[in-house]
């Protein structure tokens, strides 16, 4: 039972990371109807940047600076490579983001170097006891910070005029434009937000373990999350993130019991297998709206 609860706690931490990443995907999707495959690269760039900044300005300062810088990078990328393509087929834009992903990822990879790069976070692998269960501090922190970030996002969308503009543009782009919403700003802000979220997610995904060149794969696991939750659903991103995080971590910790014949841990596959299972039943995810199209 303790093992199970430990797995759940780790899964909640990872799930919070997935939820943050998925929120970035959803924000971009809602504003542009495009999946940005560049999110994993931004996540990795965020983690690497923070690990470089942490010794100089302290960890918290590094996280704040790193998040802002990655948001700015995402803004620039949107302006240079994505904005000219607005109005083209969505898959063309999606493939452009794949190209961006490769470029950002390789440039970031060059800064990782030969020695393992550590984040410089205060948690490491420390644990706290919560009701007899060892909960790793990094997972607790991830969950709490994700909660705060989600709360801030909700407040932003609810109470600021820019948030209102973004919701309006997501609902109906043309109508929003007719009401004076600057859709270009909405695109820019959504990319900036997604970049920032990816950087925060990267920090918590990297906490405890050294950053390697394959770090971005974690970011790809957020794609099944958004498919599971539905591409255009905030709630879906959070629920999907937690579900996939917990499922992955439970399967990973019971791997040797359930699948003794498999050497490589099957946990990494769980997000994708879950996605297949859900799509067979609900092609638009758990909370996604069904696409209605006019010919």
């Amino acid at each position: 039972m303790t093992e199970f609860l430990t797995a759940i706690s780790a899964g909640t931490g990872n799930g919070a990371v997935y939820a943050l990443l998925a929120l970035g995907f959803v924000i971009i999707y809602k504003s542009m109807q495009v999946i940005s495959f560049a999110q994993p690269a931004f996540m990795m760039a965020g983690a690497v940047l923070v690990s470089y900044l942490a010794p100089k300005v302290g960890f918290v300062g590094a996280v704040i600076l790193g998040t802002i810088s990655i948001a700015v990078v995402a803004l620039i990328v949107e302006r240079v490579a994505v904005r000219p393509m607005v109005g083209k087929a969505t898959f063309v834009i999606a493939i452009i983001t794949i190209g961006i992903d490769i470029v950002v990822r390789v440039v970031t990879g060059a800064f990782i170097g030969v020695d393992p790069l550590v984040l410089g976070d205060p948690w490491g692998l420390e644990v706290v006891k919560v009701g007899g269960v060892n909960v790793e501090e990094r997972h607790l922190a991830a969950f709490l910070v994700a909660g705060v970030v989600v709360g801030l996002l909700l407040l932003f969308f609810r109470y600021t005029s820019l948030g209102l503009a973004m919701r309006a543009a997501a609902l109906d782009q043309e109508a929003a434009m007719a009401q004076g919403v600057n859709v270009g700003t909405v695109f820019a802000v959504s990319w900036g937000l997604a970049g920032g979220l990816a950087a925060i997610a990267g920090v918590f995904a990297a906490a405890g373990d050294p950053i390697t060149n394959n770090f971005w794969i974690i970011g790809l696991a957020a794609l099944p999350v958004i498919i599971l939750g539905g591409l255009d659903s905030f709630g879906g991103a959070i629920v999907g993130g937690l579900v996939i995080g917990i499922a992955e971590s439970v399967v990973a910790s019971y791997h040797s019991v359930w699948f003794p014949f498999l050497d490589k841990n099957i946990g990494t596959l769980v997000p994708f297998l879950l996605m297949f299972a859900v799509l067979l039943v609900r092609p638009y995810g758990l909370f996604g709206t069904k696409e209605v199209e006019r010919v």
Binding site: I95, K264, F272
Partner: protein
């Protein structure tokens, strides 16, 4: 008005001196509908056939790799370019083909699974067919989905495939080591060994060339048939196509199956020259390479796929020349920036640049050059 016998006859000949005038539907739809095309294609095939006599083995290997890539790129172009179904899972089907071929031709008493059937004429079609069957099995899930959902699902396929390949040790040899590739025996002649009169590179080049020509002509014919027109309708507006009576799931199924066949053949041939391959090679990067070939070459063009594949195949060679030109680029993998990073970044940059500035790819550049010279000195 009487219809001239020329227009009525099914095997009408084009009029002399009027290359743009078609007098029958058949002429218009012909594969090589102008004399210029007939002559240049013939010349190109001839040049390609004698190239092994002229080039050094190093460049021959690049050209051969390019031709194998081209087979896979044509397959992806049929699915993504013609039928409009974005697939990030091409590498998975390439892997299925590669392992089928290696399994069939492998040594029955060797370390890994094998049947000892090393005749190219058997394992090459078989690899394509097994991959096609896999595509057929996956297609029902994929045809329920559209656009970006499909892209993500096929991405999942790559991860699952990579896991299965590296876990199935008896077949693949496992993560780091890999297994030997298929042995190409044709008419008792091992094409992957230097022979008395021709080297390994030359023989493999001819094998790949013949395969590519056959498959390219098949794809071109498919694209101009009823199926090809249905693909285009599905791509341009699937709802509208469905309303007009194009059975969506059927044509998506066909697109997936045919595309997987090409991927399988490509995979079977891909490692024949190198002789060894491991399961990690069929990752996301390979899928992206194929997408890059299609986009750089030209969406929904067969000749474009071949051009794009040649460029991608030549990239490692091109980037290995860079340190001589720019002293800050290193050849050592532990220094930055090194040629391997430059090569990968180039994929990304090429994809973005072509989509932004030349959406029709290399084929589009060729098209514009051709139109310019066709109407020279008039610019319109």
């Amino acid at each position: 008005m009487t219809v001239s016998p020329v227009a009525r006859s099914r095997r009408s000949r084009p009029l002399r001196g009027r290359p743009e005038l078609y007098t029958s539907y058949r002429q218009d739809m012909a594969l090589l509908n102008t004399r210029g095309k007939r002559v240049s294609v013939l010349l190109m095939v001839l040049v390609a056939a004698v190239l092994p006599m002229l080039l050094t083995d190093e460049f021959l290997t690049i050209a051969a790799t390019g031709m194998v890539f081209a087979i896979g790129a044509i397959g992806l172009n049929l699915l993504t370019g013609y039928a409009g179904q974005v697939s990030l899972g091409h590498a998975f089907f390439v892997g299925v083909g590669a392992y089928t071929a290696a399994y069939l031709s492998g040594d029955p008493d060797g370390r890994y699974l094998g049947l000892g059937v090393d005749n190219v004429l058997i394992w090459l079609p078989a690899a394509g067919l097994v991959a096609a069957a896999t595509g057929f099995l996956v297609a029902p899930i994929a045809t329920r989905l559209r656009g970006l959902y499909l892209a993500v699902v096929t991405l999942g396929l790559v991860f699952i495939g990579e896991y299965v390949f590296s876990e199935w040790r008896e077949l693949s040899g496992g993560g780091g080591i890999g297994r030997e590739a298929a042995t190409p025996i044709l008419f008792g002649n091992n094409l992957a060994r230097d022979g008395a009169s021709y080297t390994e590179e030359q023989k493999l080049y001819w094998l790949f060339l013949v395969t590519l020509i056959v498959l390219a002509v098949l794809a071109r014919n498919l694209a101009r048939s009823k199926i090809g027109r249905a693909f285009a309708a599905v791509r341009d507006r699937d709802v509208a196509a469905g309303v007009m009576g194009v059975e969506l799931s059927r044509y998506k199924l066909i697109a997936f199956t045919v595309s997987s066949f090409y991927a399988g053949v490509c995979g079977a041939l891909m490692f024949v020259g190198v002789g060894q391959f491991g399961p990690t090679q069929f990752g996301l990067l390979m899928s992206i390479q194929f997408i890059a070939m299609v986009l750089i070459g030209g969406v929904a063009t067969i000749s474009g796929s071949i051009m794009g594949a040649m460029l991608i195949a030549a990239l490692p060679r091109i980037s290995s020349e860079l340190p001589a030109l720019f002293s800050f680029i290193s050849t050592a993998p532990n220094e930055h920036p090194n040629i391997f990073e430059i090569e990968q970044v180039t994929y990304g940059v090429l994809i973005v640049a072509f989509l932004l500035f030349e959406p029709r790819g290399l084929f589009g550049i060729w098209w514009r050059a051709r139109t310019y010279w066709k109407s020279f000195p008039f610019s319109y």
